[in-house]
Symmetry: C2
Subunit: 475 residues, 2 copies
Amino acid sequence: MLENKKEEKFAEWYIELVEKAELMDYSPVQGSMIIRPRAYAIWQAVQDVLNAKMKADGVENAYFPIFIPENLLKKEAEHFEGFSPEVAWVTHGGNEQLGERLALRPTSETIMYVQFSKWIRSHRDLPLKINQWCNIIRWDTKALKPFLRTREFLWQEGHTAHATKEEAEEMVLKALDWYRVLCEEYLCIPVLLGKKGKNETFPGADYTTTIETLMPDGKALQAGTSHLLGQNFAKMFDIKFKDARSEEQFAWQTSWGVSTRLIGALAMMHSDNKGLVLPPKVASLQVVIVPITGGGDDSAMVLQAAGRMEKTLMDAGITVKTDNRDDKTPGFKYNYWEARGVPLRLEIGFRELAQRGATAARRDTGEKDFVSEEKIVQICEGLLEQIQENLFNKAKSFVKANIHTARDFTDFKAILDERKGFVMSPWCGDPRCEEAIKEETSATIRLIPFNDEPHGKCVMCGRDALHTAFFARSY
Amino acid sequence: MLENKKEEKFAEWYIELVEKAELMDYSPVQGSMIIRPRAYAIWQAVQDVLNAKMKADGVENAYFPIFIPENLLKKEAEHFEGFSPEVAWVTHGGNEQLGERLALRPTSETIMYVQFSKWIRSHRDLPLKINQWCNIIRWDTKALKPFLRTREFLWQEGHTAHATKEEAEEMVLKALDWYRVLCEEYLCIPVLLGKKGKNETFPGADYTTTIETLMPDGKALQAGTSHLLGQNFAKMFDIKFKDARSEEQFAWQTSWGVSTRLIGALAMMHSDNKGLVLPPKVASLQVVIVPITGGGDDSAMVLQAAGRMEKTLMDAGITVKTDNRDDKTPGFKYNYWEARGVPLRLEIGFRELAQRGATAARRDTGEKDFVSEEKIVQICEGLLEQIQENLFNKAKSFVKANIHTARDFTDFKAILDERKGFVMSPWCGDPRCEEAIKEETSATIRLIPFNDEPHGKCVMCGRDALHTAFFARSY
């Protein structure tokens, strides 16, 4: 059991959770952290899902330098302005001071697009679709939080160039949908899709699309973004192509990314006071077998049965491990693996031996059921599917139940303070109203739904609404 | 055809090769480069091979920060001395000067072992086996060369802790053998295994083992290393465990790594004046189909046959693509894909159509053969295997033919100047002789074979030999 309760001290509970579940550890450098194997395995699952989707769509993986010369980063003014407060600078190599200081990439548009302008000549070179998996440095000074806000994190960044705006916009939505599938079908994190307001748009982009979710404490979390860069960078970096009629055109570009913050979102969303809860599809260990022995001949038979079932499950493609430690009690082992989020536990003692089976305990609900050895694969597969489904449905109901509608600004503030979650409100479209709301409530526009059907008056200024926006306090 | 010939201007040929084959591109920061998709795909193949081996052995992937505080890097004196001339330093985050400057990891022993000392308490926590895939920064001032010497590169670094020296030594050799298999069976790079002399030992290690190969210009190349760190770091970082009798012991450690320099070694080893040659097992595209059409009804049938064969090969798990570009001639396409190293080309024209098949052209030998559509999978699989084998055998013969024995130091120098390659020589074991040889010839001890049977007198000083060492000039 964690010392902090999720319902009472959410922030403390999360910090205790990620450390005790061995997802992370603190490093000697403030604001950077160690991603431990159990968390990194989730990241590898994310990589597998996205790599498969990207490959099928012709996106190729590559690697660009972490160093960006200051002058290059400055090339797109709005972009530089957006990122420069958070840039870490390298000034010395060995014992030499560098002629020009180098930024550690806060994102890679600038360093990549120098190359894009060399690689793209003709419409036949388009679309160009490049992705990289890499570390990102942002010298954030806000309160740091494991996975959710750290000065170094891992991400993938996709960068594409297209002949037309239509193709680029299609790519923006396609990437966003990959992220939706990743979050909902693998991480069991339900998301809302939409556009950002101007204040939250990526620096240098025409517009930003986003997937947003809601954490159990009622704060929103941005899980991934996909930007239409338009021709802004193409004009700065001279990314031109000859079209079919040999006329020169600027390319249309997109960029999109998800990061290791998803690991934090996942942990926060599903876990409980016993520790981590992991969706079976991304758990590096899906089933743990705990043999319950008392010494003597029967013990050997229990261990034998455990080994047999482990092998059967493994052969069926389920990741499974038997906890054979002889210096730990079964109770200790239950707690140990529950804290670490293993979706399913099989207990095998004398009673189970006699009945030729095992007792299966679900991590998500705690429910226990007898499983006959004969049908063990089929039943375990079924249970894992049910756990995956249950985690998603629970999260989905939670998010749905926390989308509120505000009648007026008094109501708006009351909802944010008392009920938390998203507040759906008419908004005039004026960034000044967005700013005023943020100042008074700390809430920002998390998204404007794609199928936006505005009606009513702006919750702030009372003018006619241009959008129905989802406001929330956020991570 | 490349402008520089491999036989005449090797160094220029290599530079032209890696650029024209689209393996790399230069970045705006001197000494760092872009790893383009064709090269990154090779790196992903390396990752797949090693991840499978590591996973089976219980090595877990994780991620540690790129930032190492100066004080921490200094903790192991020899280690710091070895790396500090090449360290890049971060001094500013955003607009703030940092209290202590941060090194960008030149290797991760120090930052990892702080954690190891927290994670290891009992002999039951051992062995601990952690690996990370990451970028590495070494501010090298020597002549930079794509893939072989760059200021940023990618690598994996395995770090383990064990209860006994024996187990650690076993791990050192196991990792080295993984590297041997990777190089020989996948990259077709034959390697020699052995230990380094003191001068080339990893800073802070008890000893370093290595796999070495020979490039076509007769210079040796270190392809991977595996170090026994002994208890040196354990003592500095206080990595202790209670053994079975509850007595405190320092852990025994190893570290080992291979990097993206393997991509350069691969390209250098097999390629020719037409461009890149890739072993089928690591080629992201194994077969390219070039339809030869002349317009009219027959053209449609050629394209149909090409599509059919593409599908058949794809279904059999072969990576294949049809080059359908209508603005390029077949001849252009042959050159294009040869430059980019595709192992096998299938040409399909009217003649092939009439015979219900294709003409297969091998990239390695240029040999052409008719392939009937009926047996296309079987024959292509066979040809790909033959290419893989042929590349390895050719390279192996080359390395073998360039291991020379020197009668005396005059002979030693003559071999290095005229015949290049490795010179096997008796050596007294004194680092001063190693130094003297290096000063006079630029050759270093690349390795001392494990099955070292010294005899004769040191080639430098004439004293009794302690080892038979392999000397060479190297990358």
